[in-house]
Amino acid sequence: MKRSIVAIAAFAVLIAACESRQGDDASAPYASRYQPLPGAATLLAGATILTGTGARLENADILLRDGEIVAVGAGLSQEGATVVDATGRWITPGVIDVHSHLGVYPSPGTASHSDGNEATAPVTAEVWAEHSVWPHDPGFVTALAGGVTALQVLPGSANLIGGRGVTLKNVPGRNVQDMKFPGAPHGLKMACGENPKRVYGSRGVAPGTRMGNVAGYRTAWIAAADYKKKMEAAEEGKGEPPLRDLKLETLAGVLSGEILVHNHCYRGDEMSIMLDIAKEFGYKVTAFHHAVEAYKVADLLAENDTCAAMWADWWGFKMEAYDGIRENAALVDLAGACAVIHSDSAVGIQRLNQETAKVIGAAARAGIDIAPERAIQWITSNAAKALGVSELTGTLEPGKMADVVLWSGSPFSVYTRADQVYIDGALAYDRHDPSLNPVTDFTLGTSAAAGGAQ
């Protein structure tokens, strides 16, 4: 009797664990309904493996089963597994893009599809990017062909505080809930600099300057701190809770650490100010995005455990991007800070490995040697860290989600293509198998269907 109770309890714990892995709080509004694609135990054998932990293994195998990575190493048992000969090919964790607008600024980019910027007020913490995501954006499947297994879709940068971002598994879904990454925290999009002050200043309303920007953030955090205090007091039986406020609820979620701040910020000096705002109100900046001048403040980023998510080489398209250099990510990495290469682009997301290669080459030109096993972390494990999912994915370690890319060669060669992409152990994309080249509703009947991804 006692024993069976223990067994039942253990079973319950197991179920709870599985549920949390599959969709955490299923009763929460807009909860993930993600289900892995059907998959079979698979052994990818004989590859060069970059584990995402900083290691490189030669002639190594990786075994995927029940959605998880079971083992990584030489001479693994093939028993019961579909074997893929990966000789001469490379394997990495699935590529993760921390900054995408797929679905909210989808292709085709018509005005009808322009759902990424709620540019009607400078602080719109109440909006959630997932409520704009169009799952039929063809950009999801072209990103998949580039090895992307997870991505954060963010609101745009028109606003000081633009709303919640959502992390997705890059599987084709009928709706966003089918794609939501189970267990991933929400992000909060904030934006420094030119965009908010241009958008609102040109309308004659605040903010019209960078100092106006800062006043706007601080005002919002003061209200959030007050809301949080009243909510907590009410929970302790001290007074009535305030009327539920979507905007302040999101901001309070940041203050309590449940929502991660993703802050669009180009200039080093502005990042420095933003870190002080975070100190003033007791929250953490998880990552600066774009961070074109991160190399100027890499030590500050390291001290604050704040990631910099960067392009390889975008620069000069506006003043705050004028000082961009291709060595940016390498210098951030060299300073011991968390370097991430992101896309912010439906085109760039398809080739984050190539963007990383540019930085490797630029760093070499400057006398800095970045090994492939180190660079791959910028688009896998460091990206997972920035999204708060590094316990779940981002490296090839036993127990992690089997999010894996099999590349035709080194991912840092321009000639290399993703041959196979596994998401939770299921083959989501196979370059050589038309039945595993997903086609969105929108592109049905076009050339994309006739081999656009092959």
């Binding site: 950009g139 030119e194 000069g316 760039g348 630029a362 000639y415």
Partner: protein, 434 residues
């Protein structure tokens, strides 16, 4: 300026002029000449007075030549950026010079960007240290501003520049006339692509009429035209075939109309973009219409691009269409990324040599300057890039770039910024590190 500075400057000037007169030899590299000699191992490339004097295998350099040891290296012709605003734009949005477009009605076809070219722009050094030695600089479409001023279906005249240090940066004026058709053209024409085509036809018809009745026009005995004389003069080059139309167009049906129009007026055209050009590869080859494309541009960003595909470059080249590569994201600040375009085309079926051709000799041919640049052949100007390895690989950076025989400085504002922040041992603020 003190005496020492003057002396140093004079020495530098002397050294620079002496270098031109000198003979230089690049020795030992694998040279992808893009000419009839193909690829030469252990090449000796002799440069005299800025031009290539000879290209041969394994020969000793002439006595007295300054020798560049390039053993184990790859040598290619200088890269040729086929589209963009280099030297016309410093910062894209809300800042800095932006001289690529003029709003208002005064100039359209006659808007010539050559005189705005700034060879000292930071973008020039940043792109040339990565191998770009020539560029087509183009007027932009000039999208409507808040006041309702608009750009034009005919944006004006492109020029070809070299990215060297000499004062004669403009190599060729009126190298092409920029035209916007399809969705871009419809936006500029007032709502319909029909309007864009009518605007183009009207411009050509007026230019023909003007040319046929110049005397009457000057006497005031001919009807007035909707275009200025500067525009009508610029259009004469198009009608004579000297200046090709450089047409921003993607949709196959628009390209079909363009092919007819080119035949009707007996003019030349180059397609820019061409997302669906692959569907008309045979027709474009027959009509000798080249395509400047970015192979990464495979998403249906609008309904004109709905049949974009990865293999475009390979399909077009196989059909005999001359292709050149633009970079996939920014045509200007990162013009240097045409190597990435070329590499991606190789990944999807284009032979490697054709890809290198598409960023060197092909654009030189398309824009009519292949007699002087684009390949490493005797008699051509010595635009040469020395690479440590495969130039299409993104990890590969040029070790030395020569423009018109001159070894350029391999520094740029970006390498200076990099080096300033690499010097972390200084206890002074970065402003003291130069």
């Amino acid at each position: 300026m003190n005496h020492l500075t003057i002396k140093v400057c004079l020495l530098a000037v002397f050294a620079a002029s002496a270098a031109v007169a000198e003979t230089t030899a690049i020795v030992g590299a694998t040279a992808h000449t893009m000419g009839e000699q193909g690829t030469i191992e252990n090449a000796t490339i002799v440069i005299e007075d800025g031009r290539i004097a000879s290209v041969s295998a394994g020969t000793s350099p002439p006595a007295g030549a300054t020798t560049i040891d390039a053993r184990g290296k790859i040598v290619t012709p200088g890269l040729f950026s086929p589209v963009g605003y280099l030297g016309l734009v410093e910062v894209g949005l809300s800042a800095g010079p932006r001289d690529a477009a003029q709003l208002g009605d005064e100039f359209t076809a006659g808007f010539d960007v050559a005189d705005a070219y700034n060879r000292r722009s930071t973008l020039i050094a940043i792109n040339r240290v990565e191998g770009i030695t020539r560029a087509v600089i183009t007027p932009g479409p000039g999208w409507p501003d808040e006041l309702g001023n608009t750009g034009h279906v005919l944006s004006g005249l492109a020029a070809i520049v070299n990215l060297g240090d000499s004062g004669d940066a403009i190599e060729r004026r009126a190298a092409a006339m920029i035209v916007n058709l399809g969705e871009g053209g419809s936006g500029l024409a007032g709502g319909s692509r029909v309007g864009a085509l009518l605007t183009l036809r009207n411009a050509l018809n007026e230019a023909i009429d003007y040319n046929d009745h110049r005397d009457d026009f000057e006497r005031g005995a001919r009807r007035t035209y909707s275009h200025s004389v500067a525009d009508l003069e610029a259009l004469q080059g198009v009608l004579s075939g000297a200046t090709p139309l450089f047409v921003d167009v993607n949709r196959a049906s628009d390209i079909e109309v363009l092919i007819q129009l080119v035949e009707e007026y007996a003019i030349r055209a180059i397609i820019s973009g061409g997302a669906e050009a692959w569907m008309l590869a045979e027709q474009l080859a027959a009509a000798q219409i080249p395509v400047v494309l970015a192979p990464q541009d495979i998403l249906p960003g609008n309904f004109d691009k709905i049949n974009a595909r990865r293999e475009s470059a390979a399909i077009l080249a196989a059909a005999g269409v001359t292709i050149a590569f633009a970079d996939g994201q920014s045509h200007t600040h990162n013009a240097r990324n045409i190597t990435q375009s070329a590499g991606n085309a190789v990944a999807y079926g284009l032979p490697w040599a054709d890809a290198l051709h598409a960023i060197t000799l092909a654009p030189a041919r398309i824009f009519g300057v292949a007699d002087s640049v684009g390949s490493i052949e005797a008699g051509k100007e010595a635009d040469i890039v020395i690479w440590p390895d495969d130039p299409l690989e993104l990890t590969s950076y040029p070790e030395q770039v020569l423009i018109k025989g001159q070894s350029i400085s391999m520094t740029s504002r970006q390498t200076l910024l990099r080096d300033r922040y690499l010097q972390s041992d200084s206890d002074k603020p970065p402003a003291y590190r130069k």
